[in-house]
Amino acid sequence: MNLIDPAVRAGVTLHLSQITKRFGRHEVVSDLDLEVRKGEFISVLGPSGCGKTTALRMIAGFEHPTTGRILIDGRDVSRLRPDQRNLGMVFQSYALFPNMSVAANVGFGLKIAAMADRNIQRRVAEMLELVGLTGLERRFPYELSGGQQQRVALARALATKPAMLLLDEPLSALDAKIRLSLREQIRDVQTELGITTLFVTHDQEEALSMSDRVAVMNSGRVEQFGTPLEIYNRPTTRFVASFVGTLSILKARLLDPARGVVEVATATFKNLEIPRGVARGGHLSLAVRPEAIRFGVYKGDVILRGKVIGVGFYGSVIRVRLIVGNETITIDTFNTPLSSPPLRGEDVDISIDPKSVFVMRAE
């Protein structure tokens, strides 16, 4: 008899097994399998309405899976109420208790757990120091900025030493600048405590920059689960490729399946990995990241010629759009003191590194 789940021995904190959720006939989450290791920071990334919140709410216990099991630290919590699961949660709208001071908010969970007042005080001070809000104990939520409120919410969620931290788009209601700094702060706190964290967001930059691993969701399914680098550089589905990062898609024709020869506009690519089941002469799509294309002619690269239709300046990066044949390509180039970006209407040569191209079935 095996008392310990092998997954727990491998350090798995959260294990979702074949989770499906239907509201009436509408299947919102389908066959969700996910293993989150102890101390990991995992993002669930996907467009609005893809089922991220529903998945998170099932882990928290606010929704019940139609089928499947949820294990936390090897214990099946599927039948437990939310208040029995020992989880911390941060909401998009902060959800601080307006009638309570910062200290009372942070100490709420401890008070419910009947901790002695003096210990509560000590723990609250500790948590406020962790999120950099020492000295604001007596303030009320309405006296705080959005960023401060969300940090109080984070402290409140962590005060009870939960087994896991769940965050549902915690930065979406904040200004761009605060969003960036809070992003780093959340990750720092998470690293310091080593708490297993599930972070839901629709913002790919957030997911890629903060996470150890990212689960990309689409229409209720996880399409890819991997490190940010894997997700960005080796997307396994068309959806992941197009949802994460910017992608230019070029129409292509397969000339030689065996040697991976593909024709695009006036050029040919060789040694590409071709999806199975496409016949010679069949249609394909080539996808290229904006940073995988360079201006000028480089040896070993595939050369195309196009006309510049737009130049956008983003500080350290300049984003150029150009027309090649009938298609629009986006190129990112670093803004260096020596470079001079192309002008609108100019005809330019571009070089594409064949190794950075993904081949997909044509739509």
Binding site: A60, D83, A95, F97, P98, N99, Y142, A153, R156
Partner: protein, 253 residues
């Protein structure tokens, strides 16, 4: 048109006020008011009605708050039904309610509540709770919506709190202003109510005003003005509470 509208509302009021001050032939005086205040029946009936109003507010809150909270969070499909039920007291005249009570709880019934003063008080409170249900419901429902009760509840739940704790420690303190608004409206309604109180033969303020109105000339005018002032104070307090509530301040930022 606005002038006409205002006169339509103000002229009778001014006329009543003027009349209430004209008890002495030689000029204006507050004598009518002095007689009213010195009438022991005034004090006792007003006190009685105020007490009944307080009970109505407490019972109404205890009844409405958990119901609305439950419907909002767990049984949203029940909402249309509840909204309809809650409107019934505005559609069905109170006299129907009180005749129902008199039949159901008469001294020959299994629950002879009308037989004793205490029993009749209970019936009166029940009647007033029903009568003021629309106001209490609307006030509390608006309050719950304004504080996003669902998310607050979830936040408290995940921290380990159970529903009763959440209702008392998180929800109630944050909708106190809304409850107060409902309470003042309830107070204003109960203080002036006549039909139910007189049919249950309770020593309430409404029947007292009516009795004075039949017997005297100037005092009823003074009472009418006093009722107006009480109502206005109640309304003013609602405004004041809303103005100083923390939630409002947060929204204004």
């Amino acid at each position: 048109m606005p002038v006409a509208g205002r006169s339509f509302f103000l002229l009778p009021l001014i006329a009543t006020a003027e009349f209430s001050l004209s008890l002495r032939r030689e000029g204006y005086s507050f004598d009518a008011y002095r007689y009213v205040f010195s009438d022991p029946d005034f004090v006792s009936s007003f006190g009685y009605s105020a007490l009944i109003a307080a009970c109505t507010i407490v019972v109404g809150t205890v009844l409405v708050l958990p119901t609305v909270y439950l419907v909002r969070l767990r049984l949203p499909w029940l909402r249309p039904v509840v909204e309809f039920i809650v409107l019934l007291p505005l559609i069905v005249p109170p006299i129907i309610l009180v005749f129902g009570y008199l039949r159901m709880f008469s001294s020959s019934s299994p629950f002879p509540l009308t037989g004793t003063a205490r029993g009749s008080d209970i019936l009166l409170i029940c009647g007033y709770v029903t009568l003021t249900l629309p106001y209490m419901y609307r006030a509390i429902d608006t309050g719950l919506q304004a504080i996003d009760a669902r998310t607050l509840t979830e936040a408290a739940t995940i921290l380990g709190a159970r529903p009763a704790t959440i209702l008392i420690r998180v929800i109630l303190p944050n909708i106190l202003v809304s409850i107060m608004a409902g309470a003042f409206l309830t107070f204003a309604v109960v203080i002036g109510e006549f039909v139910i109180a007189s049919l249950l033969t309770r020593p309430a303020f409404g029947p007292y005003i009516q009795r004075v109105g039949v017997a005297k000339a100037y005092e009823p005018a003074a009472l009418a003005i006093l009722s107006f002032i009480i109502t206005w104070i109640a309304m003013g307090l609602i405004q004041l509470m809303a103005h100083f509530s923390p939630n409002v301040q947060r929204e204004n930022r």
